[in-house]
Symmetry: C2
């Protein structure tokens, strides 16, 4: 849980500006808290009752699963700075099969991008999308359609470009030579996995749209599966979204069927890690995103590119915020946000 020396060094100028806390090196926090957004009332009927004991030593209770519920809400946790140097808060949106922990921590136990950007002067909101983490999930198939999907360690190892071939025995796993993912902590990383549905995109978009209306104006930093939700919300509320940083986004609205003119004043930065050309799946995703970025620029918008290998930064996995150089990359994102005039 200690902070890497590099982090402290990079954060010093930020700290120097945090009125009152400079001499102790902390960040000056006005308020922490959380809240749920959206969700719709649902009523279940006709399910059988059951008896259960809620906790050892407590009397049994007859449980009637029928009744009123709320479903489709999402969750956000906020840390508001007393003296932010950014003009708006930062919303951090996670990817598929994951939750807000993506930004809170690294599998090596070091704090994540949330702490980096708090040090860099941002009030930060870290959310869990519908069905994930503290957002909670709903009974299926009665409310959520279909089944949840649980990511295997093999899928995480191979899909996230950590290694070509997974093995159950950590010692037998072949990592990509030069990877910056902390492979010794891979099993710890997999504890962050959260079951997902393939049928909740509409519910999820609805909640994200309400979230943007509630928590913005803001900057959105989004990862992987979240990309499509963030771009869709930005298209609906371009006045609320001051910038979008897309970290290896996996989807987007179809640029050939979408008027991107509303995004003219929403600067965007695409961030890509290494080894993408070796993975047909990622190659095709990046090509689709590059088509979207080109269309955005053609429509008079600003779609910038931070292609890390092209900048000479090699070894990043799909989980860039987990990699050993995560602070370097959050610093490059901070630099770009500065050029957009969104943070001092």
């Amino acid at each position: 849980m200690g902070i890497a020396m590099r982090t402290v060094a990079v954060a010093l100028p930020a700290i120097a500006l945090l009125a009152g806390c400079a001499q102790t090196g902390g960040i000056n926090v006005k308020e922490v808290g959380s809240y749920h957004i959206g969700g719709e009332p649902v009523t279940l009927k006709g399910l059988p009752t059951k008896k259960m004991v809620y906790s050892p030593g407590s009397p049994p209770v007859t449980l009637n699963p029928n009744g009123d519920f709320v479903a489709g809400q999402m969750y956000t946790r906020y840390t508001i700075l007393e003296n932010p140097r950014a003009s708006v808060p930062m919303l951090m949106w996670h990817g598929g099969g994951l939750s807000g922990t993506t930004y809170e921590t690294k599998p090596d136990g070091k704090p994540g991008w949330e702490m980096d950007f708090l040090r860099d002067g941002w009030s930060v909101y870290v959310s869990d999308a519908v069905e994930r983490g503290r957002a909670s999930w709903a009974r299926y198939p009665e409310i959520f359609q279909g089944e949840p999907v649980f990511r295997t360690k093999k899928e995480a190892w191979e899909l996230f470009r950590i290694g070509k071939t997974y093995a159950s025995d950590p010692k037998s796993r072949q990592a990509i030579p030069g990877t910056l993912f902390p492979i010794a902590d891979f099993d710890q990383f997999t504890k962050q996995s959260i079951p997902r549905w393939a049928t909740n995109d509409e519910r999820t978009q609805r909640a994200y749209d309400q979230y943007v209306q509630q928590a913005c104006p803001c900057v959105i930093v989004v990862h992987s599966q979240g990309g499509n939700f963030a771009l869709t919300s930005a298209l609906k509320y371009p006045d609320k979204v001051k910038a979008v940083v897309l970290v290896e986004p996996s989807g987007s609205p179809d640029p050939d069927k979408t008027d991107l003119a509303p995004l003219r004043n929403v600067p965007m930065l695409w961030v890509w890690g290494d080894y993408i050309q070796d993975y047909p799946f990622w190659k095709s995703i990046k090509e689709r995103q590059e088509r979207f970025r080109a269309a955005l620029n053609q429509a008079g918008g600003q779609g910038d590119l931070l292609d890390l290998p092209a900048k000479g930064i090699h070894g990043n996995s799909h989980m860039i915020m987990m990699d050993t150089n995560s602070r370097q990359i959050s610093g490059l994102i901070q630099d770009w946000l500065k050029t957009q005039g969104l943070v001092r």
Copy 2:
């Protein structure tokens, strides 16, 4: 998200002692982050493969649900103060069908006990037990036994002593006269509900025990279903647990079958809300807890009682930390912790 005037007033002495941040009224935070604890490797075999699209616009993937997973881990989020006035951190453990949001927020949008105790000089850890929230959950029946249970609004309304009879239409709900639960925000509160299993107590205890070994020495504040887990961990690691505050705990080890001598140096405070005598379920729970408390005192321990109605504080529900007087009650808990010499 604003802070109630009462909160600010009560918190002022705390702020005055927070070196560096006094003039701005914030809290001086050294680090925020999170991590997962425990969990065991699990392997699934023989399940059919399926095709799915992870997000709109991304190519379909053939999914093999068989393979290696981790299951039974728990999650904690920490906010470490630069200058805590408490000698150890505070761990906040939630109750049944809920997650750490219990302590983060109130349904009226005001910050919860976590913020209160941060202002009172505690570094605070807010966890999600196994199967809840960001701890994630595992496939059933293959890994978790049995089915998840979803709490209805009716159960929350009646079990938590908010009102005698629930109605779907908020305007038709009969709240207990004089309740301090913010009933206008009851539907918002139900968004915090998280599905639970009745079959995971062993896994949950195992994770809590590891959590105590990792994060303590500490004080544990525990609610409802969490009571039995906290008392069991304290019995195993009495040197690690410096005090336990039990807020309407629903279960405990059997005092007639348990040697409570190890708890001799672990002061405990039981906190009870109002209307308990009107609910046979709660009456019997409180009687069992009082038997445990008496046995603890008999064994040479310190089992103190904060019976709010007996102190002239009326109207508290089972969700004391959600009630309109939540800051008053966290203040009374802080006073007790001061008398134990655990915080300045």
